[in-house]
């Protein structure tokens, strides 16, 4: 009886005094499937550091939900699904901690273990690392292989002129266009069109000089990209609106930029399209002479909030998850998104994906060529200005490419100033 009482008291003590570490992850069924068993396993083996895992609450966006929670004093201890611009905003306010400063050498050891020493450089902000990158999604072109072959092409278009050639043979507005050049008018759509094209054309040059805080994309590369977008709209080889269905499925367009998250979706929703895709790097100017074509990386990571009392326990958990490459294998199996590590093509653990899934392999190969967005806290305003002063004037042919580009850079510099 005495023993039972002692055991009960110990258990009660553990329950009452054990740490309850609040952890939020992306509200995405596939990512939930990844995290659920991991958190359960951790909780079973660490009664003193229990993780209270939830998905980011429903809101207009993850950022909005996190901001509301921070303002209300109910923010988690650590959280995934943070993009670099948002991390910069949070870091500027001191809401998240610099991981290198908090964890010192242990942080760099983990970076080395997970083979992400180059990847992490893209996340440097004021000489610190606030985010632990989890995945890195290169944005690549999807082309309708069957239709291009019917037109006599044996490989996907590489340069702007190649695309013009396809357009001359295929475009017949309003039924058919060569490609979907612009993704939409949301601020984040600029990642998946102009910024991707710019990275490709400039061999990965940043569109914002984060040291001088100036927009720098009104250079020869920016001009080439703007000219390309303008030419496509002017000749009606692309359209402002592509309809509500996936443009490749209806044949409305033959090419569009996509991230690897679309693979699972296309496989289930448009199996006939999925069977007939060529995946290639984004288009480049005709005179492109750089090395491998760079692209944009839609990459998200994990941050630790300053208010947390369990920073040590959190890092133990991060080390436990990301120090084990088997967890990255599971990540790929479930989400089909490349983890932010540089050994995807060389590590035997990932070999089966590279061999069995050519589409995943196409994305995994480009992880090293994929560059995150510029680390600035005014991401939304900057990309909104890109929409209003660059993309829309080009779409509606309201301005010449050069004028639109200069005006856009001027407006962005006002925001940065």
């Amino acid at each position: 009886m005495k023993k039972l009482l002692i055991i009960s008291l110990v258990l009660l003590g553990l329950f009452v005094f054990s740490a309850k570490i609040v952890f939020w992850t992306a509200p995405n069924p596939l990512q939930e499937e990844f995290w659920k068993p991991l958190v359960e396993e951790w909780n079973n083996n660490h009664p003193e550091a229990q993780i209270d895992w939830k998905t980011i609450p429903a809101a207009g966006s993850s950022e909005e939900a996190i901001l509301t929670a921070v303002a209300a004093g109910s923010a988690p201890d650590f959280c995934t699904n943070i993009f670099s611009g948002f991390a910069a905003q949070l870091a500027e306010q001191g809401i998240i901690i610099p991981l290198d400063e908090e964890y010192g050498q242990e942080f760099f050891d983990l970076v080395k273990t997970r083979k992400m020493e180059n990847v992490i450089e893209g996340w440097k902000l004021n000489n610190h690392y606030y985010v632990f990158p989890i995945y890195s999604n290169p944005i690549l072109m999807w082309w309708r292989k069957d239709k291009l072959q019917e037109l006599g092409f044996d490989k996907p278009p590489r340069t702007y002129s190649d695309i013009y050639e396809v357009a001359k043979k295929y475009a017949n507005p309003p039924d058919r266009y060569a490609m979907q050049v612009v993704q939409g008018r949301n601020w984040w759509d600029r990642w998946f069109d102009f910024i991707t094209y710019y990275y490709a054309a400039s061999s990965g040059k940043s569109y914002i000089d984060t040291k001088r805080y100036r927009a720098t994309f009104n250079d020869e590369y920016g001009k080439a990209v703007a000219e390309f977008i303008y030419t496509m709209f002017k000749n009606k080889w692309t359209a402002v609106e592509m309809g509500n269905q996936f443009s490749l499925s209806t044949g409305k367009a033959l090419g569009v930029l996509q991230g690897p998250w679309s693979l699972n979706w296309a496989k289930n929703t448009y199996p006939e399209v999925y069977e007939n895709i060529w995946i290639s790097p984004p288009p480049v100017p005709d005179n492109y002479s750089g090395g491998p074509i760079k692209t944009f990386a839609d990459t998200k990571g994990l941050v630790v909030f300053s208010h947390s009392k369990y920073k040590k326990e959190i890092f133990e958990f991060i080390k436990w998850v990301f120090g084990n490459p088997e967890n990255d294998v599971r990540w790929i199996e479930i989400t089909k998104m490349p983890p932010a590590r540089e050994d995807l093509t060389t590590n035997p653990l990932f070999e089966k994906f590279m061999k069995e899934d050519p589409y995943f392999a196409a994305y995994a190969k480009e992880v090293g060529n994929a560059i995150p967005p510029a680390l600035v806290s005014n991401t939304i305003d900057i990309q909104d200005a890109m929409t209003v002063y660059l993309i829309e004037p080009l779409m509606y042919l309201k301005s010449t490419p050069e004028d639109a580009l200069n005006k856009c850079v001027k407006e962005i510099n006002k925001i940065l100033y």
Partner: protein, 292 residues
């Protein structure tokens, strides 16, 4: 009345009103005071707001986006108010004349008003899309399509059409109540004097539904300053910021740009503009109506 009874009645009165007063203090008074404080401060969700005087308002009046939205709002009013007013009057007149299934017709039109904004925005966005049924029909029969939401000028009109569809039933019923309040004897007397239908409408109906008409106009003006769901869901404020509204800008400024104090100053000015327009409408339209 004895002082004891008066006291008791006093307590009772305060007791009944207190529910409303407490509710108002918590859910209206507190946010309103906080909003005004914020509009004169610099705050970004964290820490304590720092007073900045009129800085937010100076920034606001020199912000080209503010003036773009102001023009959009005027433009929306120019489309929406005549459209909704004419259609609501027609609906009310039709309902007034219909003798059978009146409730059914009234309810049918009200369905639009109680529908979820998100749901019908998706519906309209599909209906008016480039490959939607309307454009497909136009293209098949006439060889052209209408860029309902992608043309800078048409997009605002398309949204005005959607909002009109939503509110015709509701405003129509208010006008219908106004029509019902007009004594039939006035029409009978006018008929004896040989008045035509047109004359009866302009000399009797129109002046006598003035209170209902003013109510509808006030509602419509207020609504114009509060549009959010439709442009947010369908156009995202574009193209060329032509469908950006005050509410959208307030929301994105506060929750996406992390600038709630500037958003608060925008909200204050939007409220004042809306109030000013309502006063103007009442001054221009409202007339004393007396049947005695």
């Amino acid at each position: 009345m004895s002082s004891k009874l008066r006291k008791r009645e006093n307590y009772l009165g305060w007791g009944f009103s207190s529910i409303y007063l407490i509710y108002t203090a918590i859910f209206w008074g507190y946010p309103f005071v906080w909003l005004v404080i914020l509009s004169f401060s610099k705050w970004n969700f964290f820490g304590t707001p720092r007073p900045v005087g009129l800085k937010n308002f100076i920034r606001l009046f020199s912000d080209p986006i503010f003036w773009r939205i102001f023009l959009n709002t005027v433009n929306f009013m120019v489309y929406f108010i005549p459209m909704v007013l004419i259609l609501s009057i027609l609906f009310a007149l039709a309902l007034y004349r219909v003798n059978i299934f009146r409730t059914f017709f009234a309810l049918s039109f009200l369905v639009a008003n109680v529908s979820s904004g998100v749901a019908y925005s998706i519906l309209f966005s599909n209906l008016f899309s480039e490959s939607g049924p309307i454009n497909s029909l136009l293209y098949k029969n006439f060889g052209f399509t209408i860029p309902w939401f992608s043309d800078p000028q048409l997009a605002l009109l398309s949204i005005a059409i959607m909002v009109t569809w939503k509110f015709v039933g509701y405003y129509g019923l208010i006008l219908f109540a106004g029509l019902n309040a007009i004594p039939k004897s006035l029409y009978e007397a006018a008929e004896l004097d040989g008045a035509t239908n047109w004359q009866k409408f302009w000399k009797i109906t129109f002046p006598l539904i003035n209170p209902a008409l003013t109510t509808v106009l006030v509602f419509a003006v207020n609504l114009t300053f509060g549009i959010f769901t439709e442009p947010y869901m369908i156009t995202g404020g574009g193209p060329m910021r032509r469908t950006l509204t005050f509410m959208m800008h307030i929301y994105t400024t506060a929750f996406q740009r992390m600038d709630p104090s500037y958003a608060a100053s925008l909200a204050v000015i939007t409220g004042l503009l809306s109030y000013g327009c309502v006063l103007l409408v009442r001054f221009l339209v409202e007339r004393e109506v007396s049947l005695v």
